[in-house]
């Protein structure tokens, strides 16, 4: 894995595996696709979904039983990003710690570069 690529924390990997199991998705053929879309108050928003489709130009990152897929264009926005999991009282879910984001909106759902 390249140092500049996306990293997934143990907590995020555990949460992803648990969700795959709860949705009866086979771990050996399921990927977690992460990407960036237009949207949100700041212009860009994160996109996270399970898929069994891997494209030729996807980057694959494996950690803790999870295989993350990133398309090349999204990767330019996500290099160095840590995908974490928050189970705290202030909100439960995946968290993107993205060093490329110059700003985020109030709800944290979108970012600008």
């Amino acid at each position: 894995m390249e140092a500049t690529s996306i990293q997934i924390t143990d907590a995020a990997a555990e949460a992803a595996v648990a969700t795959m199991k709860s949705e009866n998705r086979p771990l050996e053929s399921t990927y977690l696709r992460v990407g960036v879309r237009a949207g949100g108050c700041s212009g860009y928003s994160y996109d996270l979904k399970f898929t069994d489709e891997r494209r030729d130009n996807d980057t694959v990152i494996e950690h803790g039983g999870v295989r993350l897929l990133v398309d090349p264009k999204s990767e330019t926005f996500l290099k160095g990003t840590e995908l974490d999991w928050s189970g705290g009282l202030n909100g439960k879910g995946f968290v993107f710690n993205n060093p490329n984001a110059s700003g985020t909106c109030g709800c944290g759902e979108s970012f600008s570069v």
Binding site: V36, A38, G39, G40, C41, G43, S45, G103
Partner: protein
């Protein structure tokens, strides 16, 4: 010796001030199908399965709920809610959306769209190499002729609800003029249109509105959906809508006298405090006949910004030279 036809420069294009004379042009615009050659108009097509959702995420208007054939005003804002582009969006089919955009905005608009295409399955096209555009006012009868010339049209609201903007290649313009003649649509010049759009409160980019203005300040409330969810600039615009009011608001004005004020003339309240400024104005054609929808024939009509403080407790409004100015509220 024939006198030269006066021209006006609009967004860098030289256009005739009048085709006959401004007063007659204005009468034509008020009463008959009329058209104006509008070389500043551009059309950008957003094509692909994600076209609607992509624009929905970036523009102020609700695009996702538009049916095929729907046309809605929209704006592109920056993160802080300031206007980047004033637009008209037309859903041509499930995967094709035409966006009408003025030439001052088009480069920035396209650049912003391009940098946000990441996972979305969309592409942008400018369908006409050298576009010719015509603004059509009144009962539109030229659709068939336009189609034969390889052109298209879409509904807009410039000075009336039935207006359309037609796009075609510039080489087809002579043929379009002929087709317009056959359906008894008369060509008008800039001055008549300019006067009418000021009377209607239609902001003009570069004169009345620019990137220093928040979208609602320019009278573009109908360009914004407040229940569509997040989009670029939404945080500011929603806060402004639900928790406050814009300090400045573009309003219609009427002035005594016949001289046109300069476009940055201050507006003063009864105490002499600056409460606004003029952004554009037009004189009344002297041969015009007053009607219920047009103000006094000798008046100057103008657009300008007024501060909330004045709008809430209006007093007398004057210019520094002492000319009386009347604010025409939207309800009139």
């Amino acid at each position: 010796m024939e006198s030269a036809i006066p021209t006006r420069t609009v967004h860098g294009y030289s256009v005739p001030a009048a085709v006959s004379d401004p007063a007659f042009d204005y009468e034509v615009l008020a009463q008959e199908p009329a058209f104006l050659i509008a070389p500043w108009e551009r059309r950008v097509d957003v094509i692909g399965p994600d076209a609607a959702s992509f624009l929905h995420q970036l523009l102020t208007q609700d695009i996702r709920t538009m049916s095929v054939g729907d046309s809605r005003p929209a704006a592109q804002a920056d993160r802080t809610g300031h206007l980047q582009a004033e637009l008209r969006v037309f859903r041509a089919d499930e995967e094709t959306i035409h966006v009408r955009v003025g030439s001052p905005y088009v480069s920035e608009f396209v650049a912003t769209l391009e940098k946000h295409i990441i996972m979305e399955d969309v592409e942008l096209r400018m369908p006409f190499d050298e576009p010719a555009a015509v603004l059509f006012f009144g009962d539109f009868r030229a659709e068939e002729a336009l189609r034969e010339l390889g052109g298209t049209s879409m509904p807009v609201h410039e000075v009336g609800p039935d207006d359309r903007v037609c796009f075609l290649n510039s080489t087809s313009l002579p043929a379009l003029r002929k087709a317009m003649e056959e359906i008894s649509a008369r060509e008008i010049g800039w001055d008549a249109f300019n006067r009418r759009r000021i009377e209607c409160g239609r902001a003009w980019p570069g004169l009345d509105v620019g990137p220093e203005r928040l979208v609602p300040e320019a009278g573009y409330e109908d360009h914004i959906s407040y229940n569509k969810g997040c989009y670029l600039g939404q945080e500011t615009l929603a806060r402004l809508h639900y928790r406050g009011r814009p300090n400045w608001q573009l309003v219609r004005l009427q002035m005594d006298g016949e001289d046109l004020p300069s476009n940055d003339t201050d507006l003063l309240d009864a105490s002499g405090e600056r409460v606004g400024w003029i952004t554009s104005s037009a004189s009344t054609p002297t041969a015009s006949t007053p009607t219920a929808s047009t103000p006094t024939p000798t008046a100057v009509v103008a657009l300008g910004y007024l501060h909330r403080r004045f709008r809430e407790t209006p007093t007398n409004l004057t210019t520094p030279s002492g000319r009386t100015v009347t604010w025409i509220p939207d309800s009139q």
